[in-house]
Each structure stands twice: as C-alpha cells, then as structure tokens.
C-alpha cells in the first residue's frame, strides 16, 4: 500500500520517514564534525559543501513529507494510549515536522547572509541561489546561532521520538514502531 490506511502507514510515508531520518542523523554528525575548531581547513571546506547539498536534499524531502502529511489520512493511535500520551505524541510530531523545515531554512539563510558568499553548488550540478537577504556578519551570526540551536533541538526531539518508539516496542509490545517499518494491508 502506497497510501496510509486507517491504522497503517503507506510506503510513501515509511520511505520518506526513514530517508529523512538517515539524512538528519548524517547532517547532525556532519554539522558537528565540520565545525570543530581544529579541523583541517580543506576537509572543512569540503564537508561544508556536502552538508549543504545533503541539507538541501533534506529540505526538499521534508517539504514533500509535510505536504504528504497534510494530504494523507492519519492512522489512528494504537490502543492503550492515554489522552495525555496522544497529545504528547501529536505535539512532538508537529514540532519535528516544523523543525525539519526550519533547520534547513536557517542553514540556507546563513549561507545566504554569509560574507564568505560561497555559492551553494548542489552536488556540483546546479547552483541554488542565495535567499534574498542582506549579507552581514551580524545576520550570519544570528542565522548560524538559530541553525545550531534548532538543529540540536531537533536532535533532542528525535531522540525522544526514537526512545518512545523503542519503549512502545520493547516494553509495551505494541505496533507503534513496527507499523513505521512495513506497510500492511489493513
């Protein structure tokens, strides 16, 4: 099944979820390594460019993900969740969706406002234009700070989200994790 069912996720949702999950994990690791102060400058330059290309990929997929989320039916929560748990999971999912858009946009903004003016050459294939923002050290610092705070905030939420999924799977033995791993006919 490609589309979500009444209590199942379709393959489009599942594929987007895990592709974006891998991208976010990789981008967080890359973002951390490339900003170490003692990194080799040539390696640092290259890692930044990879980070930007994968970051734009994440942004594109996250836009699709959000549109798909808005257009899809939402499988009902598994049995046994309290009202408070349902609200908490809903809030975390909404926050994660928002951050998956906000984090790459702040990254795009920092690349756009940077006085380094390094073009975003997507996988050395096509130039992605800068956002129409004025370049200044102040703006770059602001967007860099926002990018880091939101990215590490997203990382914290993703850890919470993953811990909850593992809790459901191993402690509560329900279908929360499994139904994001494979689609089933309902």
């Amino acid at each position: 099944m490609l589309r979500n069912g009444p209590d199942t996720f379709g393959w489009v949702t599942i594929l987007l979820h895990w592709t974006i999950a891998i991208l976010i994990a990789g981008l967080l690791v890359l973002g951390y390594i490339m900003t170490r102060p003692d990194i080799d400058p040539m390696l640092q330059f290259d890692l930044f460019q990879w980070h930007k290309s994968f970051g734009f990929t994440a942004l594109g997929l996250c836009i699709i993900r959000v549109l798909w989320w808005l257009a899809s039916r939402h499988p009902v929560a598994v049995a046994g969740l309290s009202v408070r748990e349902k609200w908490a999971s809903f809030a975390v999912h909404i926050l994660i969706l928002c951050l998956t858009l906000a984090v790459p946009f702040t990254g795009w903004a920092l690349a756009s406002t940077s006085t380094l003016d390094i073009p975003s050459f997507y996988f050395n294939l096509v130039v992605i234009p800068h956002l129409p923002l004025d370049k200044s050290t102040v703006a770059e610092t602001l967007w860099t700070t926002a990018h880091a705070i939101l990215a590490y905030g997203l990382a914290a939420l993703v850890l919470l989200h993953a811990a909850a999924a593992l809790h459901h799977h191993f402690i509560r033995h329900d279908a929360v994790l499994v139904r994001m791993l494979r689609s089933r006919r309902s």
Binding site: D40, P41, M42, F45, D46, Q49, T115, L116, D117, I118, P119, F121, N124, V127, P129
Partner: protein, 197 residues
Amino acid sequence: MSAHSMVITAALMTLAGLVAHPALSQAKAPTLDDAAGRYDIDGSSQINFKVGQVGGGGISGKFTKFSGTFQLDRGDIEKSVVEFALFPETVQTGEPRIENFLRSTAVFDTASYPKIVFRSTKITRTGEDTAQIEGNLTAKGTTRTEHFDATLTKWNRRVIGFHIQGGVYRTRYDMSVGIPIYSNIVEFDMMVNGQKH
C-alpha cells in the same frame, strides 16, 4: 631592432605625456640608453588576482608585500630578465576568514612556504609595446612554467611600468580546494612598476 622600436615607442609616449604636462616639460627627454639597466619593483605596484566562482562573481584580492627586479638588456629586450617574489601571507581580500583560509594548508600554506617566486626564462616580443614573459613559477614547493602578457605602460629615465596579465592553474601547485565551485584558474592582473637602480 625590435627592442629599439619598443623603446622608441616608449620614448614617444613619454614625450607626448610631457607635452601634455607643461610643468614637466623642463625634464630631460629620456634617451635609448637610459632604458637599459636594472629596475627594482616598487611598492606602487598592484598585484591583483581574481578567482571566478560558479554563478558569477568570485574572490578578488591582492598581495601587499613583494619584491623583484627588471633587468632590461641594452640591445635586445628578449635577453631581459624579470625576477619577482611575493609573500602570500600578505594576501588581502576584504574578508579576514577568506584570507586566513588562503594562508592555511588548504591553499598557500604560508607557514611552510612563505614565498612565491617567479623568474623569467624567455621573453618574446609580441607587438610595439607588448611582450610575452615565460618563466618558472615556484609556489608551495612546486615549480612550473607559466606565461604572462606584458604591456609597457610608462617609462622615463627613472621609472618603468608594465601591465602584466596571465592565468595560472592552481591545481598545478597543490591548491585545488574548492574546485569546481571556484575556478581552477587564478587570473593575475598586475601593474608592476620599477625604479631605476
């Protein structure tokens, strides 16, 4: 012969300049013999470069510390020698982070290679007041043959000036970082002035 016509051209240009500046008309007109000799490259020279980037624009900068000489042969310009050294530590681009990156091991590695040196091996006249300079460029421990085009821009008894342009492939000197976002070719656009020794 060719060298003479170059100097004559220069002399005529200088005379035309003197006519245009009556205050200087008392100065003694330069003679052919005056052109030959050794000139020290002075601080009024401009050593500008540009590296283009994808989508337009690029990094423009200059080097502020350099030295060198022109040794112009009396009879034959093609026997002249140009020597030039610059200190990449003094690179200026208007963005300190770019300057530090250029000084780092990714590009010039100024800590290990503080000097970039050029010494001409062959000078070929290409026109009335133009010549091609071929020589050995040594940067970051590598020596390669490079070519620059020179145009005589001013000359009098004490001062000689050339506009020198040329492109250098930076991959040849282990400075390939940033390709293809930034061009492999570093375009030099220099106004090199010498004071008679």
